[in-house]
Symmetry: C2
Amino acid sequence: MNIGLDMMGGDYAPLEAVKGVAQYLSNPQTGISLTLIGDKATIEELLAAHAVPLTSIQIVHAEQVIEMHEHPTKALKEKQQSSIAIGFHLLASGKIDAFISAGNTGAMMVGALFSIKAIEGVSRPTIGAYIPRENGSLGLLLDAGINADCKPENLNQFAILGSLFAEHILGIENPKVGLVNIGEEEGKGNILAQVTYPLLKENSLINFVGNIEGRDILMDKSDVMVCEGFTGNVVLKMAESVYDIVKRRGIEDEHFDRFNFEMYGGVPVLGVAKPVIIGHGISHATAFKNMIAIAQRMIEKDLLKKMQDAFTN
Amino acid sequence: MNIGLDMMGGDYAPLEAVKGVAQYLSNPQTGISLTLIGDKATIEELLAAHAVPLTSIQIVHAEQVIEMHEHPTKALKEKQQSSIAIGFHLLASGKIDAFISAGNTGAMMVGALFSIKAIEGVSRPTIGAYIPRENGSLGLLLDAGINADCKPENLNQFAILGSLFAEHILGIENPKVGLVNIGEEEGKGNILAQVTYPLLKENSLINFVGNIEGRDILMDKSDVMVCEGFTGNVVLKMAESVYDIVKRRGIEDEHFDRFNFEMYGGVPVLGVAKPVIIGHGISHATAFKNMIAIAQRMIEKDLLKKMQDAFTN
């Protein structure tokens, strides 16, 4: 199993990426090797400085970096020697089994969609967001902003992808799927929600529990919460701002500490044919470590195969 | 000036409504009379029990009550002697200058739209929600859930209505209008937001400051935040749930206390030709008092005339 990591992506790369690798490798791993992509000399120096064991590490040099502000499609096309472009090349050709980056999100999406492509039958890959709940578990809200306008069938597919991720990666048995809506009963909501409801209800691949309202998002009424990416992104960013307010006001609370979305590292692009994980630009060491662990789990559980099966049956 | 109040609406009516009237009248008011609509005997008894001065009060008896669970249109049609039906009759015929109820929201909306009608030029009246900000002021988010699907022109009109309310009732000079969106730059967002942006930008009646993201909603980046009612309602209910979580976790914080949306009483239906205020079902005395005060301010400032002018120029 070989996990590829863009060492140059994110505001604190490559230092925090190296520290994340060190954290990850501090627990002995079996059968995992890491391919670190980026400026070879710098990476080697940092690995040495942090006394990272090199036995399961290989470095692939990348001369270029796609910066955070660059235009995704343009940058990816023009910077063939960038860590992101090389990462996708390695993933597409099977030299790595998963690719992780906290770099330019747009470039990561373009790479995922065009180098790796969607799982057959999936019209729109999606990105979810973890939602901390008071019972200590994590829920998954999707789409988190990639698909601003959606059709009912997109939401129905997000529900399938999200359920498989919640079950196999978050470890939630028979995850409850809720449709984010503005009313509890069937028939409530905007046109999208009204048309989506019966699709979810009839979908035998998921455990649909009905509509959930804004007040239920931070609760555990459902584990997988589906909506279009506009609402999902607004909700997610508002939840992030709650953490900022809590901190500014000097409130110390274990639950609200979990609203620090930074610590979750990245979220996978669900619906593309190979594991691709996109991190927050502000990722620190723990986030990188967590992303590697998620990639490992996705490979071990053969999540992609399970997703492919769901869409071919 | 005569303000009509449905004494039978809300989970704690008529007791809390009477206590709200008592609170309101405890500050001497000039030129205001209150028309209390509901079961006359009960109201008289409660007014006496709370030693409410009767000089500026008149009671209009209503034999029926529209319950919270009843179908709005059906109930309003069949219960002509209900406090809500009578209230709208008094408002439409000019016997009261504003009508307030914490009763069946749907029936209040139907009454507002069909007995009172929209201001000429307004395609869709709207309901906003107050958003507490750390600087102590209130922002206004609209639509809060009445219009689940919107056209760009609706959002543009909400911006005008919300700006006038923010300026004259909330006392915010030259209120900043933000478009709720998922990205900061023009051109970002879903199709609705993309098409709405230029309308807001060219609207000379408002002070448009551009897109605001989910993280800005609880901040003071803008005073009037416009979006369709689906996102608005999800966001609002999530903010309400933050208050519940804060309380459950035993956190005492002045700012988060202001997330107790109950205390704001009701919000006016903006865009109908007369002042109509719809309260939370869970309204307590302070909420009733606040709703009467808002109605008074709307009448004193002649807000409806200002709104009419905005749509005829």
